[in-house]
């Protein structure tokens, strides 16, 4: 058993959202450690004094945990298990007993063992979806729910509360933060129409408020089958409230990637939420007020803190700073951290004064420390808003891109909207919750207790926002004493530095999109959450003068194109702002999602329906091998003991040509057509005439696309003056019905014709062969089966010997005497079995699609999709007889275009290999015998060799005692008697062109 070290040297004695009674063991790179229930992997590492994670991807620099959330760019691990999870940020992994991880160097490793976990999907409809459960989201959800609306609250974390969890001591709506969370949680859980989904990240936002979210259920799932490890939620929401918070930005300075440089808010979170102290001697480098909270909590936890504040003086909201001063902190104003001492971990920070332009204004001094907490300002989390093309605008005072114009039926609140004061977050959230509920038709119940302030004008609100944020002095890149920029990391995950950005602009790149692609900034797992805005900030410093004019427009957050004011020197008057540049495009997913979670359960047999006929069980029992035809599983052939496919097919063919055989033809598409204009309708659909088809008879027809290409074929029966029964190919059933519906509804609504698919109402058995009449006579005693009494292409309604009513047709797809018995599908198995029994004395043999193909090919009956490929007309198939010259039908006009009248079209013929045993591969190409030149088939020819056609079908014919093929050949009919070369697999063989029909050309066998 692994011995887990219970050091947790960085763990504070008190505090934190931890269950200290539940110490749990985990392993990292083989070292066993412990943490508590409530930890993340990252917090447990911090508590164990391990900030150092894997190396960086390209430069192989030591790296440490930078953040405490989904934006983490360094702390990637592989999670080992029965299927390893390739690559996850340690900051998002809930600690569980036995967790076993391996640190990664910025690149994942895929596991080739099968993942046997389950992943499912769920559809949910909400009146109001609230995303994020910080103060803004909680207030929104609570208000939205109060009027009975269906509310779904999504929180990616395993706990509700958002940033409140890192600020447990503040007062929220008159209570302690944690009590507030608990109260709202209880209220939401008690509301019957509310669903609270923790561990569920909304990662995509699509049109019409369609959200996609991933729930991680592994921590709650029992080992029970059917309980998914992760669940994909498809959410359709009337209204959406985005309460997704903000990300703190790092500051770009020399060696800012050394382990021990950490976001200030993350430091606070580790201390307050997890009682994990990342460092004891802390230099806190900030550009704004928010980090003073970190200073406060660090001091409280016993750390010493030196504040380095970029601002010369702090005008507004100084209470925190004052408090810090009073707490005895040293504060260096107008200063910056300009470098780090240490490589495996921070041992000191170089601090220097900076002037108004951000340039070094004095020598750097080294402050010994073991942690550098940084806050470069905040970036509202606008991904989901922007995924919906919600607009952004650069706000100079907030120093961030903030949602401007909203998205229809969406609200953006809280820090995600640039509102950084907790009370204001509550107000904004509550208002949005109420607004959303009202818009969804479930107005909130009257009492609003979360300080729903009096309506304020937009300006007042804006002013409040700014006050709360305090002032920010953005530092896009802090100069290093030696002037270098090549360890100023902008995107640590992608190992890109300020020097890379500089190279990009130097190369002529003006668009942030180009800079992204020249450097690869923002293309890593955090997708720019860490480095995006800093890059843009840097660009404002690098692009000036004429450069700014060439910045392409159209990026999110980009200011509307304005005339660039020029100074006397021809330079633009104003420096570009981040708004001049705009952001790169935000795209789903907001956080990475395992492929298999997107695949869901739709795998294996659930991937796609496997449709079977009612006699399927019989086919299985009789050893059938199956072929996929569209979604259908059709018997392909029925091998008997010791038979290979050829032997089985030969036997089945013999039976059909010499005795009797039967085939399951249930899969054919079937459509009932009724109406006074049904004949006219069919007459326009089919290339051949249908007006005069007598009742009681059927006719083969071909339909073409508007451009004259064969599209489907089949036999249509006339049941009554105004009723027809159309059959289609198996693969064509759905598209033919759609085709007919389309013409009937959209082009010819005046025609009285109505269509109903009855493909599955009927089961069909084809009984084929010289002895088929005997079998039918036994099966259908009431039927006059004589040649005279039941003619070819006729059908009869009859009652079978079993008492089952059937429609029997005399149709052939083999040239033999043949019948098709149609019965309601639920009698399909019975009738199939009856046919087998009735035929037994005649040696009836079941056959599959392969034999069907051989038989029809001997008769040159084309298969749509095999002899045709969307470029073939009925004429090309040698079926001029099926194309009316007189009537109008779909596609007709196309036949008179040049390409259809000129010679050189590929037309159907048969080709016979001179070697009778050789079966050409289907698809083999045909060339003129002299076309080869000196090409031997070795390698590739030096110049193209002209092809005259290709093989569409190729079989061994039992009846002919030789191999044969059908082919589409340029001007085929004129080549009958010629010899061509078939080319396949580097071989060439002579074939003779013949007329298509090879067997029973006179059709003598049709009537038995």
């Amino acid at each position: 058993m692994t011995q887990h070290q219970n050091h947790q040297g960085g763990r504070l004695e008190r505090g934190g959202r931890l269950d200290r009674d539940q110490s749990i063991g985990f392993t990292i790179d083989g070292t066993a450690l412990t943490g508590y229930v409530g930890d993340t992997l990252a917090s447990a590492l911090v508590a164990n004094g391990r900030l150092r994670v894997g190396d960086s991807i390209y430069l192989r620099r030591p790296r440490g945990v930078l953040s405490a959330g989904v934006e983490e760019p360094n702390g990637f691990v592989r999670v080992n298990g029965d299927h390893n999870e390739s690559m996850l940020p340690a900051t998002t992994l809930e600690l569980r007993d036995g967790l076993d991880v391996t640190l990664l160097d910025g690149i994942g490793v895929l596991d080739d063992r099968p993942d046997r976990n389950e992943y499912d999907k769920m559809h949910v409809h909400a009146d109001v979806a609230v995303i994020g459960s910080g103060p803004a989201g909680l207030a929104a959800a609570k208000e939205a729910a109060s009027g009975g609306a269906r509310v779904v609250l999504f929180e990616q974390d395993f706990e509700l509360g958002g940033s409140l969890l890192s600020d447990p001591t503040i007062t929220v709506a008159g209570q302690g933060a944690l009590d507030y969370i608990a109260r709202v949680r209880a209220e939401l859980e008690a509301a019957p129409e509310v669903t609270v989904l923790t561990r569920t990240c909304v990662f995509g936002s699509y049109d019409n408020n369609f959200l996609v979210a991933l729930e991680k259920r592994d921590e709650v799932a029992s080992a029970k089958g059917g309980v998914s490890r992760q669940r994909l939620w498809h959410v359709t929401a009337g209204q959406v409230v985005l309460a997704v918070g903000a990300f703190e930005r790092p500051i770009v300075f020399s060696d800012n990637d050394v382990p021990g440089v950490m976001l200030a808010s993350a430091v606070k979170t580790y201390v307050e939420r997890w009682a994990a102290l990342p460092g004891r001697d802390v230099v806190l480098f900030t550009t704004n007020d928010s980090a003073y909270e970190t200073a406060r909590c660090l001091t409280k936890a016993g750390a010493t803190v030196t504040v380095v504040d970029a601002r010369p003086e702090v005008k507004a909201a100084v209470s925190a700073q004052e408090g810090a001063r009073r707490a005895g902190l040293t504060v260096h104003t107008a200063s910056a951290v300009v470098g780090i001492e240490g490589s495996e971990g921070v041992t000191g920070a170089f601090v220097a004064p900076i002037d108004d332009a951000g340039q070094l204004a004095g020598d750097a001094q080294l402050l010994a420390c073991d942690l550098v907490a940084v806050s470069g300002g905040w970036t509202p989390n606008v991904s989901l808003h922007s995924q919906r093309q919600g607009q952004l605008a650069w706000d100079d005072a907030l120093s961030g891109f903030v949602p401007s114009a909203g998205v229809k039926n969406q609200f953006v609140v809280g820090a995600g909207n640039g509102t950084y004061d907790t009370d204001d977050c509550l107000i904004e959230g509550a208002r949005a919750g109420r607004g959303a509920a009202a818009a969804a038709g479930f107005p909130a119940s009257s009492s609003a207790d979360d300080g729903d302030a009096v309506a304020e004008s937009a300006e007042v609100w804006h002013a409040r926002q700014h006050r709360a944020a305090g002032t920010v002095r953005p530092l896009w890149a802090v100069p290093a004493p030696d002037g270098s920029l090549d360890t100023h990391f902008v995107d640590p995950h992608r190992d890109n530095t300020a020097a890379d950005v500089l190279r990009a602009t130097g190369a002529g790149m003006r668009s942030v999109e180009h800079v992204k692609r020249y450097t690869s900034i923002s293309t890593g797992i955090d997708q720019g959450k860490i480095g995006g805005v800093n890059t843009i900030g840097l660009l404002t410093q690098l692009l000036s003068g004429n450069d700014a004019k060439a910045i392409p427009a159209g990026q999110p957050g980009q200011d509307a194109a304005e005339e660039v004011e020029l100074t006397a020197s021809g330079q633009p008057a104003r420096r570009p702002t981040p708004g001049t540049i705009g952001t790169t495009t935000f795209r789903a997913p907001f956080t990475p999602v395992a492929f298999t979670a997107l695949a869901g359960r739709g795998r294996g047999t659930l991937f796609d329906a496997a449709r079977t006929s009612p006699a399927h069980s019989w086919h299985v029992e009789h050893g059938a091998r199956f072929e996929d035809v569209g979604q259908w599983k059709r018997p392909w052939f029925y091998p008997q003991e010791g038979e290979d496919m050829d032997a089985a097919v030969a036997r089945e063919c013999r039976a059909a040509r010499e005795g009797v055989a039967f085939m399951d033809a249930t899969t054919l598409g079937k459509i009932e057509i009724r109406g006074a204009d049904a004949p006219e309708f069919l007459n326009r659909i089919y290339t051949n005439p249908f007006l005069k088809l007598p009742v009681g008879k059927g006719r083969y027809g071909v339909m073409c696309t508007v451009s004259g290409m064969v599209f489907d074929d089949g036999v249509t029966l006339r049941l009554a003056d105004d009723r027809f029964f159309m059959t289609t190919t198996t693969g064509g059933a759905a598209k033919v019905l759609d085709w007919l519906e389309e013409w009937s509804q959209t082009e010819w609504p005046e025609l009285d014709v109505t269509l109903t698919s009855v493909t599955e109402q009927w089961s069909t058995v084809a009984v084929v062969g010289p002895r088929s009449r005997d079998v039918i006579a036994k099966l259908a005693p009431e039927l006059d089966v004589s040649k005279e009494g039941f003619g070819f292409m006729e059908f009869r309604e009859t009652t079978l010997a079993s008492g089952i009513d059937a429609r029997v047709c005399r149709i052939t797809f083999s040239g033999e005497l043949a019948y098709e018995i149609n019965v309601p599908r639920w009698y399909g198995l019975k009738v199939w079995e009856d046919v087998a029994a009735a035929g037994e004395e005649f040696g009836i043999t079941p056959y599959g699609t392969e034999t069907m193909h051989v038989l029809r090919a001997e008769k040159a009956f084309p298969i749509v999709g095999q002899e045709t490929d969307g470029t073939i007309t009925p004429h090309d198939l040698g079926m001029d007889w099926v194309v009316s010259k007189t009537k109008e039908f779909i596609g007709k006009r196309s036949f008179s275009r040049a390409a259809f009248t000129e010679p050189g079209r590929k037309q159907l013929v048969s080709v016979l290999p001179l070697d009778h045993t050789l079966r050409l591969p289907e698809g083999a190409q045909l060339i003129e015998p002299d076309a080869l030149g000196d090409y031997t088939g070795e390698g590739l020819p030096s110049a193209p060799i002209a092809m005259v056609g290709f093989v569409t079908s190729s079989y061994h014919s039992q009846a002919l005692g030789r191999s044969f093929a059908l082919a589409l050949v340029k001007d085929g009919p004129t080549r009958v008697g010629q010899t061509l070369l078939a080319s396949f697999g580097g071989q060439f063989t002579e074939v003779e062109v013949r007329e298509p029909v090879l067997y029973d050309k006179e059709g003598a066998r049709r009537d038995g």
């Binding site: 299927h83 994942g108 130097g506 194109a561 193209p944 092809m947 290709f950």
Partner: protein, 406 residues
């Protein structure tokens, strides 16, 4: 070169001039096709007073969005001719342009899952070989050898029944290709003008003499459209129509992984195509959305559906993570073949309709289009691709050919 090293881009790529008053040739659209055309005008025809105008950032359209599959194993002779010419040009591109574009001839497998797939595949392979295109039919076992991570077992709904393989096919780094052309064209005097949207055409009788843009009028001796999905919008301004429809087409990538996928796999039947780019991200294309759309985004269910197929075929991808999705605007013709040639407007030319597969065509299309523009007559490679084929009905229908796009 290892997965953890990438050569750097050159220190200088292109200048960003203001547009001049007038150019001999104005190319509308700075994607791969526009840029390659400019390069070829300069290189082969000595025409350097050329501007490439783009409404956004250079090569930010489909060129920035494609899954970079390069192959020439198309069915019809006309297709094989242009795509094979292209493939040959890919083979010398890095030298020609002096830029490492990561052209990697790792082979492309097109899988077959039904018997009809198999017939279509063999037909295409045999046609390819006679057209001088390397191609072979491979059995499931050979598929497995070429790409060991493919599941060829029967436990999936549509098992792999074999495939076609083109060893010389492969991938390249899309942005680098665009920039390589841009850099050379710029060096030879071509102006690359971004943020310059063409909003109308200036006509003199039946002839175009300039373009209106958001940066003012620019006179032009000739105007060549190379605007992919936006061609209809431009043609509309010029008073004619092109037989294309613009659809969203999506693609996606995973995070970086150690290399496991040695080749490129396409499976039309179950809608997957995937390669692993040099850095290690899995690059995958999704299906075309059915509706017309210029939004550069599609619907998520398309991606989910394809993921199911991907994980079926590649169980090893189960816990790779979707990192980013995006969409392009593809210009689809009815026969899945491009349109390149003259237009009803004098001195105006069109090149569009490459749909889901025009990245691979960039070098040859640039060659042929430049010829067409310079000589006011098609190059032999694009003679069959004029608008007249829609009148005669002589389509070059690549759908039937196992419907392999991209």
């Amino acid at each position: 070169m290892s997965q953890r090293e990438l050569p750097q881009h050159p220190d200088f790529l292109w200048t960003n001039p203001d547009p001049k008053k007038s150019y001999d040739v104005v190319i509308v659209g700075g994607g791969g096709h526009g840029l390659a055309t400019a390069y070829n005008l300069a290189k082969h025809h000595g025409i350097t007073n050329v501007a490439v105008l783009d409404k956004g950032w250079l090569a930010g359209g489909n060129m920035a969005r494609n899954t970079t599959i390069i192959r020439s194993n198309y069915l019809w002779d006309e297709s094989a001719a242009i795509y094979e010419t292209s493939l040959k040009l890919w083979e010398t591109m890095e030298e020609d342009l002096g830029y490492d574009v990561f052209f990697s001839q790792r082979g492309v497998l097109n899988l077959a899952h039904t018997m009809q797939d198999e017939r279509d595949s063999v037909r295409r392979v045999e046609a390819n070989r006679l057209n001088g295109v390397d191609a072979e039919w491979v059995t499931p076992q050979q598929v497995k050898q070429l790409c060991p991570i493919i599941n060829i077992n029967d436990d999936i709904r549509y098992p792999v029944m074999g495939g076609t393989y083109q060893p010389r096919a492969g991938i390249a780094k899309h942005d680098w290709v665009a920039w390589a052309y841009a850099r050379r064209a710029n060096e030879m005097g071509v102006d690359l003008i971004q943020n310059c949207e063409v909003t109308g055409f200036v006509m003199d009788g039946g002839r175009v003499v300039g373009v209106e843009t958001n940066r003012g009028r620019i006179n032009a001796g000739k105007v060549a459209l190379a605007a992919a999905g936006y061609t209809s919008v431009l043609a509309d301004m010029a008073g004619f129509r092109v037989p294309i429809q613009s659809h969203p087409l999506q693609a996606l990538v995973s995070e970086l992984h150690e290399i496991v996928h040695p080749t490129v796999v396409m499976s039309n039947h179950v809608h997957v195509y995937v390669s692993q780019a040099h850095k290690g991200e899995l690059v995958m294309g999704a299906g075309v959305d059915a509706y017309n759309g210029y939004g550069q985004r599609g619907s998520f269910h398309v991606i989910e559906h394809q993921m199911a197929a991907a994980v079926e075929l590649f169980p090893i991808f189960a816990r790779a993570h979707l990192l980013r999705t995006w969409g392009g605007v593809v210009d689809v013709t009815l026969d899945a073949s491009p349109v390149m040639g003259l237009t009803p407007v004098d001195q105006m030319y069109v090149n569009c309709g490459w749909g889901t597969g025009g990245f691979k065509a960039v070098p040859a299309a640039g060659l042929a289009y430049a010829h067409t523009i310079a000589n006011d007559e098609p190059h032999p490679l694009n003679r069959a691709y004029g608008l007249d084929r829609f009148v005669t009905g002589a389509l070059i229908d690549e759908h039937g050919a196992a419907a392999v796009a991209h």
